[in-house]
Symmetry: C3
Subunit: 133 residues, 3 copies
Amino acid sequence: MSAIIDIYSERKVQLINITSEIESLVKNSQIKNGTCIIYVPHTTAGVLINENADPSVASDIEKALKRIVPPISFEHIEGNSPAHFLSSLVGCSLSIPIINGSLQLGRWQGIFFSEFDGPRRRKVIVTMLSSSF
Amino acid sequence: MSAIIDIYSERKVQLINITSEIESLVKNSQIKNGTCIIYVPHTTAGVLINENADPSVASDIEKALKRIVPPISFEHIEGNSPAHFLSSLVGCSLSIPIINGSLQLGRWQGIFFSEFDGPRRRKVIVTMLSSSF
Amino acid sequence: MSAIIDIYSERKVQLINITSEIESLVKNSQIKNGTCIIYVPHTTAGVLINENADPSVASDIEKALKRIVPPISFEHIEGNSPAHFLSSLVGCSLSIPIINGSLQLGRWQGIFFSEFDGPRRRKVIVTMLSSSF
């Protein structure tokens, strides 16, 4: 069972909370036990999990990610190598267990689409696998 | 099939070897072929795989992770933004194949719960999915 | 369903494109819907997804990864702690959805085995799980 979430980023580097969209998909799937795979089919974006309560956590992570790119000269002519680098560092794929119909996010966890070369139109592929048990 | 591992960290940044607990769960599940998903439901911790032989590898990784946090001022009032950042960088989810009843860790690989804001009581969710083949 | 890809790296840090090998395995598996798990059983290598078009993107990522290792003194006597560190940062496991028989890579995405301590002989474990739907 798969679905696509459409995303419109507004800033160059931006964490966008997609937790509620994914929780709805899990609920609608009626899968009792299994896993939810969140996949970003882009090379200058990713997906990460972090705090869903205080929004300054997401903005601190954005700030730190921008600063972690080393100050070297890149060759790729489009000029967005920092975004490609951050995409590979953060990763584009996550697997979250589903137990008794509920996505096993921790109390403070939210799922964030991670834009590194916005603003752009993006998509996230959400796939749910049911366990054989 | 799912289980929870309880963890008690003792230091601020600490890699804790949980390989044997996970291998026991895989064995007890009697799954022949499939995947084992290791999920950390926290926002200031993660999970990684690295060398299980010389303990100085884990301590070198702890040291490098502490140093990779950029020296910027963070806004999040709890003061643990470096831990949130490292959690997103290392990641909180891993998928390891199970083939012929055996978790496919390489010869030198171990699984490490990664504490970035200890000491704390933590948990890891371990879910096994059987393939349909 | 699982298979092993053999890899021979030629440089210390090297991204090696394994997209076509993995796409063949997915095709041959005849799985319609499910997920493909790509797993690297080594502690000084990893796997990442990034641009498959302009080869300067991969070389820019190699360059940035080398530079992101902090200039600290490591204890591990083999001298390859930077490679262990990068392995944990990039990660050794990826899950990519399969929908209607097709691996859901984005238009520009390729899968790269990531060598951090070459040249060496390496392997990648590719496991496909079929969804129950």
